[in-house]
Amino acid sequence: MRRIAVAAALLTLLAACTKTNYEFDVVRSTLQPGKAPPDPRVQALIAANAPRLQIAFLESGLAGAMVLEGEREGVRTWLSVDGASLLTRQGLIVGERGFGGGMMASDVSQPLEALFDGREGQVLRFHSFLNGDDRIVTRSYKCHIEDRGTQEIPVRGQPVATRLMRETCRSADQEFLNVYWFSQADGQLVQSRQWLGDFLGVVTLREIAG
């Protein structure tokens, strides 16, 4: 139903020559998701060998590498090939643009502290989302952090000893589970599985060298 409406709208309103090719790109990326032309910003960063982040969305099956656009005041911005971005703070997701879920910002100071200290217990985290009516809704989540012991995971073909931390969160009407693997050697977050909101679900992340 909606797909027919979309196709009709696009054909009648957008399939046209205009002075810029933006509208043409919109048509192409709507009808053929995943085939959008690579963003020139991203190409420049790839050429400069910027650090990469491997991500995979569990629900949609979309996967790929993102490249670091930059870091300011502890927040890193990663860009996907088609120009969407993911924002992280010490490896924890704090926002997203262009993937469609609308996670605008987050306060993850409490889980960050507990996770990096390897401390179990109750913490609070906060996320704000842009909803479909262009309003921002902020949700608070009560989370329980547990130390699940050690686990050996392969990183670039090499086994790495990690400590596995699990964070179970719930709000009035949402529930999710985040999992983190910290390297035992240097305490760094090497791999994680995090929730990005109802629309996008769960994403797995792993930082890889550029």
Partner: protein
């Protein structure tokens, strides 16, 4: 009713009102109900339900809109094969329904509703009812009610209301005439009958329906040989997760029925957060300082800086037409060519200014223009952006630290080569006309060229030309029988006698005569049927709910070939307009004045405009033309929809799909359609909408 868990802080404490008569099923009439009978249920507030139902010799297409939490209204287009001409002709019937909730369902008491079906049409479906619905054990919904008119036919009894007033005892016959009048002299009159039924919810997808119908289909039986002797209807409904429903029925012991419906929530577009490419991140201030154009010794007035800024904005679909830098403050003027939420255009501009301009420039002034007409200015600060870009409540805190004001004073620094400027689009177009008296859908498909040439700020030449390839608009054999001047009713002649159409071709001047004031002057071929002159003045304070406008036009009717010639008819027409924003997405507009046929009166338009731009509305025009002079329909009225294309695609674009459904287009209450009417021209970039969509500032 269940109270959901609250979080420790009490944020996000939600009341989940389960089982409180929220409609699970739509009837063949496209309203919350069983098979043919209504229930007292409501749709979720703001939802839009589209239903198509077919059974023997009958098809019904209905759009139902839950206008308020306690009121829904429907527009229906029905096809009755063999209804007219002794079984040889078919009837296309248009009808409107309205339903009010009188009482919400509670733990011990039922929901109660009262409704009017086909309250203003030609009366084929006219009937009224009072209905009660109660949920039992979460799975059973029992409904019982009393109907009048068509719903009061089977085993009818004396109207209980007639014990109060004997006028209720008899129902005057349907006039089946011109229709369009409220048939108040029939409502709740004549014999009444009881109806009832049950819905059993097997699981979240499947429900079973059974009802006892008080409708005997007496007219259809007499005219079409319909058989409704058996009073019971059975059905099942299957719900898909995406909001679609399929229903199958066994009706009146004589026919099978099939129905498809789709319920849409305008607040839920294809993609909630949007798929736009991410805005550039705010670069650390030391990196900004290191840019070659910001190195010590460079002058902030160096054109390189301006050109870098301009190019970066251009990449985001923002055209910079004015630029000034003075001490610690920079001002830019922006034409937003991409973002349907103006706040998003402002946010991206602010980011690019912060990333490009030297760090000592701390205050950013951003003025939104449309074809050189300044609309609104936003003043924000570099510090606020750095501090709040990743703040949990960043958008609103940024708004609190910004200033939004009317943009009536122009800054210095118009970029020399910003004008003249052209925009154009060449491509296919489709034009649809729904539900006219003879055909459910008429269409025209062809190629269109639309272009604007902006000579200098506010001065533009604007044109639209179309070449239809396929059209059924001109298939109509109706000849206007209007006794008024044929100001609109000859529309078919325009379709028939034109090939290449010049839809409009105008010269415009738009300017700001003072604070909160906008003005427009237009001359040329104003619209498809009229050419002439048009002048308009609008008073639109940015932060108030009320706006007032006035427009006066001299219009002369164009030739049917839609080229450059004129006919003899001419008129001075104009309106005074009032626009008012109510709480909760409602918007009222009243236009009073003289219409094209020389009639005097007023048009009332009420829209529900969701914050994301999705709009559903209805309008009606009352003039000193009598309903006899007006002809079929009695007065001009209709419903309209406006859907941003971005709502469907998730990617920011300015175009909107607009569709008006008007039962009949006639000559009374007809208004001139001038392009660039000021209110709609500036509204999306005035403070009200800008603040409403401010959540998209950092998107």
């Amino acid at each position: 009713m269940r109270l959901a868990l609250c979080t420790v802080l009490g944020i996000g404490c939600v009341l989940l009102a389960e089982g409180s008569a929220k409609a699970q099923n739509l009837s063949t009439y496209g309203t919350p109900g069983l098979v043919d009978m209504p229930t007292a249920e409501m749709l979720p507030d703001g939802d839009l339900a589209m239903t198509g139902a077919v059974f023997r010799d009958t098809a019904r297409g209905t759009v139902t809109f839950q206008m308020l939490p306690w009121v829904y209204g429907s527009f229906r287009y029905s096809y009755l094969r063999g209804f007219d001409g002794g079984g040889t002709g078919s009837r296309y019937d248009r009808s409107f329904d309205i339903h009010f909730r009188l009482r919400e369902e509670t733990r011990h008491g039922p929901a109660i509703g009262v409704g009017l079906r086909d309250f203003g049409g030609t009366g084929v479906y006219s009937g009224e009812y009072v209905v009660l619905t109660k949920t039992f054990a979460e799975r059973w919904k029992l409904t019982g009610g009393m109907g009048w008119g068509r719903l009061g036919e089977r085993n009818s009894f004396r109207n209980p209301l007639s014990y109060i007033d004997s006028r209720f005892e008899t129902r005057p016959p349907n006039d089946f005439g011109t229709g369009g009048k409220f048939s108040t002299d029939q409502w709740f009159r004549g014999p009444a009958a009881l109806f009832g039924g049950v819905e059993y919810k097997v699981n979240d997808q499947l429900s079973l329906l059974a009802e006892y119908s008080s409708d005997t289909y007496s007219t259809e039986t007499a005219r079409m040989g319909f058989d409704a002797d058996f009073p019971v209807n059975l059905g099942l409904t299957y719900r898909f997760e995406n909001g679609a429903n399929i229903n199958a029925y066994y009706m009146y012991g004589s026919t099978l029925g099939l129905q498809f419906s789709y319920v849409l929530d305008p607040r839920k577009p294809a993609v909630p957060g949007g798929l736009d490419k991410a805005p550039p991140m705010l670069q650390p201030v030391d990196r900004v300082a290191l840019a070659s154009w910001n190195l010590p010794g460079r002058d902030a007035r160096d054109p390189t800086l301006r050109e870098v800024l301009r190019a970066r904005l251009e990449q985001q679909g923002l055209r910079m037409v004015g630029y000034d830098i003075e001490g610690g403050r920079a001002t830019v003027e922006i034409e937003n060519g991409r973002y349907n939420a103006a706040a998003q255009a402002v946010g991206r501009t602010a980011r690019i200014m912060a990333n490009t301009l030297p760090p000592e420039v701390e205050a950013f002034g951003i003025t939104l223009l449309r074809n050189g007409l300044p609309i609104t200015s936003v003043e924000t600060h570099r510090d606020a952006l750095y501090e709040l870009e990743n703040d949990l409540d960043g958008s609103w805190r940024t708004l609190a630290r910004s200033e939004i004001r009317d943009a009536d004073e122009r800054p210095v620094g118009i970029i020399e080569d910003a004008y003249p400027y052209t925009t154009y689009r060449f491509g296919p177009y489709a034009r649809l006309s729904f539900f006219d008296p003879d055909d459910p859908v008429r269409y025209e498909i062809g190629a269109a060229f639309v272009g604007d040439l902006i000579l200098r700020p506010g001065v533009l030449l604007s044109g639209l030309t179309r070449l239809p390839f396929v059209s059924t608009l001109d298939d109509t054999t109706r000849v206007s029988d209007s006794v008024l001047p044929h100001v609109r009713s000859d529309w078919a002649l325009y379709a028939q006698q034109s090939d290449l159409q010049v839809n409009y071709l105008t010269a415009n001047y738009l300017w700001r005569p003072g604070p909160d004031l906008f003005a427009r002057f237009t001359a040329g071929y104003l619209e498809e049927m009229y050419g002439g002159l048009s002048a308009e003045l609008l008073w639109y304070p940015g932060d108030e709910r009320l706006a007032l406008g006035a427009e006066v036009n001299y219009a002369r009717q164009r030739d049917f070939d839609m080229l450059f010639g004129f006919q003899d008819y001419d008129i001075v027409t104009g309106h005074a307009s009032m626009y008012y924003d109510f709480d909760g997405d409602y918007h009222l507009r009243v236009d009073a004045g003289r219409y094209l046929a020389g009639d005097w009166g007023a048009t009332f338009t009420i829209d529900r405009e969701f914050n994301n731009g999705f709009k559903v509305g209805a309008f009606a025009t009352f003039t000193n033309v009598s309903s006899e002079e007006f002809g079929e329909g009695s007065f001009d009225k209709g419903i309209r929809f406006e859907i941003p294309v971005a709502w469907l695609t998730g990617r920011s674009t300015l175009p909107k799909i607009r569709q008006t459904i008007r039962p009949v287009l006639r000559d009374g209450g007809a208004r001139l359609q001038v392009e660039n009417r000021l209110y709609d021209y500036v509204r999306d970039e005035r403070a009200g909408r800008l603040v409403g969509q401010w959540g998209r500032f950092y998107r």
